[in-house]
């Protein structure tokens, strides 16, 4: 009970921290805390495999990607070069709409409460976290992933492949960058200096 509220406070606080920092590196740190707390929350919901991949993939892979990009683009501590703010007054309507939508969502949830979670019963399918072959365990998840959900699983592989190709196309050097003008036209073969000069007679 208290664990949930503790994690909830950490989640909300780290989320707000993430979106309010000037420097993206601090945001990454906030996001890391957020993800770790979320992983813990997953464990309380019997989703142990998801808790693990939340740490491994999100914290380990995706956040590292962010950090790499930040390192690539700037020193990582200062603000990015920013141009003029073209929508200076967007914050007020955005926050207002956000609050309204949030209010309606909470209102809708409150209309039909779900009630308490079903209790843990060690003898049933719902077992303790860490037990193999109970709901949410690695065994349970794996069986589902490779039997009934095999097609979506294969599709994820396809999505990742498309993403890889897309990234290479967008950020790779293969595409000429006209505004930077780094690629000077190569001299034609006839204009190139011969590698071996014929010895003078």
């Amino acid at each position: 009970m208290s664990l949930f509220y503790l994690l909830a406070v950490i989640l909300i606080a780290s989320a707000i921290f993430t979106i309010t920092q000037k420097s993206p590196v601090y945001s990454v740190v906030g996001l890391l805390v957020n993800f770790l707390a979320l992983a813990a929350l997953y464990f309380t919901l019997n989703a142990e495999f998801l808790g693990v991949i939340q740490i491994v993939i999100y914290s380990g892979a995706i956040l590292m990607l962010f950090v790499f990009v930040i390192a690539l683009l700037s020193s990582g501590v200062g603000p990015f070069r920013a141009g003029p703010n073209r929508l200076p007054r967007i914050a007020a309507p955005a926050l207002l709409t956000t609050l309204v939508a949030f209010g309606f969502l909470i209102f809708g949830i409150a209309q039909r409460p779900f009630g308490p979670l079903p209790p843990h019963r060690p003898t049933s399918f719902l077992g303790n976290v860490g037990d193999p072959n109970v709901f949410g365990s690695v065994g349970d998840f794996g069986v589902a992933l490779f039997t009934v959900q095999l097609l979506p699983f294969e599709v994820t592989a396809f999505i990742l492949m498309v993403a890889v190709i897309g990234v290479v196309l967008i950020a790779g050097d293969a595409v000429p960058q006209p505004t930077l003008g780094r690629h000077r036209p190569q001299k034609r073969a006839a204009e190139r200096e011969p590698i071996l000069k014929a010895p003078a007679p």
Partner: protein, 101 residues
């Protein structure tokens, strides 16, 4: 010990709208991407909570797919940021307005 699922859903909603606010208000593309990750995770939290209510691991599989898509999205988004950074003077979501009417 047991917590009402409604609490999880409400927490998910709070996180989601924090992410929304971040997307709209912030101009740093990296932070915008991170706010999007927040929104993904809020949705994941709701999915996991629902899976727990109905003791059905289809929700877990769905979260797995969302994580995959989020990874792909982050990779492409960051690639775009890198590409924009190479061409444009400022790295700013307001800078990329070539499709204005």
């Amino acid at each position: 010990m047991s917590v009402d699922v409604t609490n999880y859903i409400a927490l998910s909603a709070v996180m989601f709208f924090i992410g929304v606010a971040g997307v709209i208000v912030r101009r740093n593309p990296l932070i915008v991407l991170m706010a999007i990750e927040l929104m993904f995770n809020a949705a994941n939290l709701a999915l996991v909570a629902f899976a727990r209510v109905w003791v059905n691991n289809a929700g877990h599989i769905f979260v797995f797919l969302v994580v995959t898509v989020a990874a792909a999205e982050a990779a492409i988004g960051l690639a775009i940021v890198v590409a924009v950074f190479r061409r444009a003077e400022n790295v700013d979501v307001d800078e990329v307005a070539g499709l204005h009417g």
